[in-house]
C-alpha cells in the first residue's frame, strides 16, 4: 500500500504554496474517483495529496451573464439542478450518467476535465456548449476555450501550478437546445465507447442559426466537428441536412480500434447519433 501525506488547505493561496513546496511530488485531489484508483493501480505514487475539497467556494452553479460552474461542483449537483437540466441539457444528460450515485456524489466536473480521459462524459457537452475553462495560478487567472484545453490523452494545457477554478458557458441568444448521447454497452457503470453532444440554435422558421458538435472517444482528444457545424449553419432543419452533417462529422473523426469498439463502428455510430441528438436538441427547443 502506498503511503502518502494528505493536506486539505482552505484557500487557493495555500494550495499554490503547497504546490510550490512539493512540486511534482504532490497531486491535487478533488473527488478522488480517478486519483484514488490510480494510486491503487500504482500508476500514481504521490508523496502528498493536496485536497481541493476544502475550497467550498468553488462548488456552485450560477447564472448571471451566462452560466458559471465551479470546478468542485459534483456530477450529482449538476444532475439535481433544474437550471442545468433546462439550460444546459447536454451537460445534464452527461452528468446524470457518470458512474453510479456513489460516484456522482463525490466526483467533480473539474476532475473529469483535468483527467482528460478521451471518454470523459462531460467533455462533449462542454464543447457543444462552448464552455471556457478558467485556470488560476499564483500569478492570476487565465481563460482557455475548452476546444483548446485538451492536448492529448490525459494531457491538457493546465500547468502544474494551476488549479481549474471555473467553467463559463455563454447564454445563447434565441432558441437554443442541446443533447448528449453516451454510447455504451451497459446502462450504468460503463464508460462510453463514443460520446456525441449537439448544441443547436434555431430561428422561428426552423433555420439553424448556430450549431456545435462535441465528439468524445472519436479522436485522441475530445473534438469539435467544425466542418459539420459550418455545413449546418444557415440550413433549415431537416432529415437530409442532418444525415449529411452526420457524414461530415464522421469524416472529421479519427477514432481508433480498441477493445471497446472498432474504428469503423464508431464512425458509423457518429453518422447515426449526430442526427438523433440534433433532433433531440430541436425537440427540447420546442419544449417537447
Amino acid at each position: 500500500m502506498v503511503d502518502y501525506d494528505y493536506k486539505k488547505p482552505k484557500s487557493l493561496k495555500e494550495v499554490f504554496g503547497l504546490l510550490k513546496k512539493y512540486g511534482p511530488k504532490a497531486t491535487l485531489i478533488a473527488g478522488g474517483t480517478d486519483v484514488m484508483i490510480n494510486i491503487r493501480n500504482r500508476e500514481l505514487s504521490p508523496e502528498i495529496l493536496i485536497s481541493l475539497r476544502g475550497l467550498s467556494d468553488l462548488c456552485y452553479i450560477r447564472k448571471n451573464n451566462g452560466y458559471h460552474i465551479g470546478a468542485l461542483t459534483t456530477h450529482r449537483m449538476l444532475e439535481q439542478s433544474d437550471m442545468v437540466r433546462a439550460g444546459l441539457s447536454a451537460l445534464h444528460d452527461a452528468a446524470s450518467q457518470v458512474g453510479s450515485v456513489q460516484i456522482r456524489n463525490v466526483a467533480t466536473v473539474g476532475g473529469n476535465i483535468c483527467t482528460a480521459a478521451p471518454s470523459a462524459d462531460t467533455a462533449g457537452p462542454l464543447l457543444a456548449l462552448d464552455a471556457t475553462v478558467a485556470l488560476e495560478g499564483p500569478n492570476g487567472r487565465r481563460r482557455v476555450p475548452i476546444a483548446d484545453f485538451f492536448t492529448g490523452p490525459s494531457e491538457t494545457v493546465r500547468k502544474g501550478n494551476e488549479v481549474l477554478v471555473e467553467f463559463d458557458i455563454p447564454e445563447e441568444p434565441g432558441h437554443f437546445g442541446s443533447a448528449y448521447w453516451k454510447h455504451s454497452r451497459r446502462k450504468a457503470m460503463d464508460l462510453p465507447l463514443l460520446g456525441i453532444a449537439v448544441g443547436l440554435a434555431l430561428s422561428e422558421s426552423q433555420e439553424i442559426s448556430n450549431a456545435r458538435l462535441g465528439l468524445t472517444v472519436a479522436a485522441p482528444v475530445p473534438i469539435r466537428a467544425y466542418k459539420a457545424e459550418e455545413f449546418l449553419i444557415g440550413k433549415r432543419l431537416g432529415d437530409d441536412v442532418l444525415v449529411e452533417a452526420g457524414k461530415i462529422a464522421s469524416s472529421e473523426a479519427s477514432p481508433r480500434d480498441s477493445l471497446r469498439g472498432k474504428a469503423w463502428y464508431r464512425r458509423e455510430m457518429i453518422e447515426v447519433f449526430v442526427p438523433r441528438m440534433a433532433k433531440l436538441a430541436a425537440e427540447r427547443i420546442r419544449g417537447e
Binding site: 500500500m1 502506498v2 503511503d3 502518502y4 501525506d5 494528505y6 486539505k8 485531489i29 478522488g32 474517483t33 484514488m36 484508483i37 491503487r40 493501480n41 495529496l49 485536497s51 475539497r53 450529482r76 458512474g99 453510479s100 450515485v101 456513489q102 460516484i103 456524489n105 463525490v106 446502462k187 450504468a188 457503470m189
Partner: protein, 160 residues
C-alpha cells in the same frame, strides 16, 4: 508510518481515529473500528459493497480518503437499527422478501437504499434501480432486492 487524528461522528457517536492519512474510510472502519459490515469487493468504486453514508450521501468508502471525514457524520449498516435492537424497515424488508442470498452485497445495497429512501420514501422502480446501479449483486438478480426496497418504502411511509 505517520499517523493523523481524525474526529467525526460514527453511527451517532463522536469518535477519533489515529490512522495514517493514506488510509481510506473503508480500511479505517474495518481495521480501526472493527466494523466489518462494509465490505471490500473491488476496492475501486465499481461494486458498491463498501457503501456507507457520509453527511446524508451514499459514497464508496473504499476510495474515500479518511482525512475527508473530519467533522462529518458517517453511518454504516451497524448504525441503522434502533438502539433497542429493532431492525430498520430496510433490514426487515430484505429479510422478509429474500433480498439477501450470500449477503456480501447486502450492507452496501441497504446503505444505498437508505440514502435514497431518506430523501424520497416513495421512489419509482426506475428511481430504485438508479439508486442501486452502483451496487453489484452476483446472487439475486436484483428482483427481490427491488421488491425489498419498495416494501421498506411502504413500511417507512406507514410509520409517518
Amino acid at each position: 508510518m505517520k499517523k493523523v487524528s481524525i474526529s467525526f461522528t460514527l453511527n451517532g457517536d463522536k469518535v477519533t481515529a489515529e490512522v495514517p492519512p493514506s488510509w481510506t474510510l473503508l480500511k479505517t472502519l474495518r481495521e480501526y473500528f472493527e466494523l466489518t459490515g462494509p465490505k471490500e469487493g473491488c476496492g475501486t468504486g465499481e461494486c458498491g459493497a463498501c457503501t456507507v453514508i457520509v453527511d446524508g450521501k451514499a459514497v464508496n468508502s473504499c476510495i474515500f480518503p479518511i482525512p475527508e471525514v473530519e467533522g462529518k457524520s458517517v453511518t454504516t449498516i451497524e448504525g441503522i437499527a434502533s438502539k433497542d435492537g429493532t431492525l430498520h424497515p430496510l433490514q426487515k424488508a430484505f429479510i422478509e422478501n429474500n433480498g439477501v442470498q450470500c449477503g456480501f452485497c447486502t450492507s452496501g445495497m441497504i446503505m444505498s437504499a437508505k440514502a435514497l429512501l431518506d430523501h424520497n420514501p416513495d421512489p419509482t422502480e426506475d428511481e430504485i434501480r438508479t439508486g442501486i446501479a452502483g451496487n453489484l449483486c452476483r446472487c439475486t438478480g436484483y428482483v427481490q432486492i427491488v421488491a425489498s426496497i419498495e416494501k421498506a418504502g411502504e413500511l417507512i411511509r406507514q410509520k409517518k
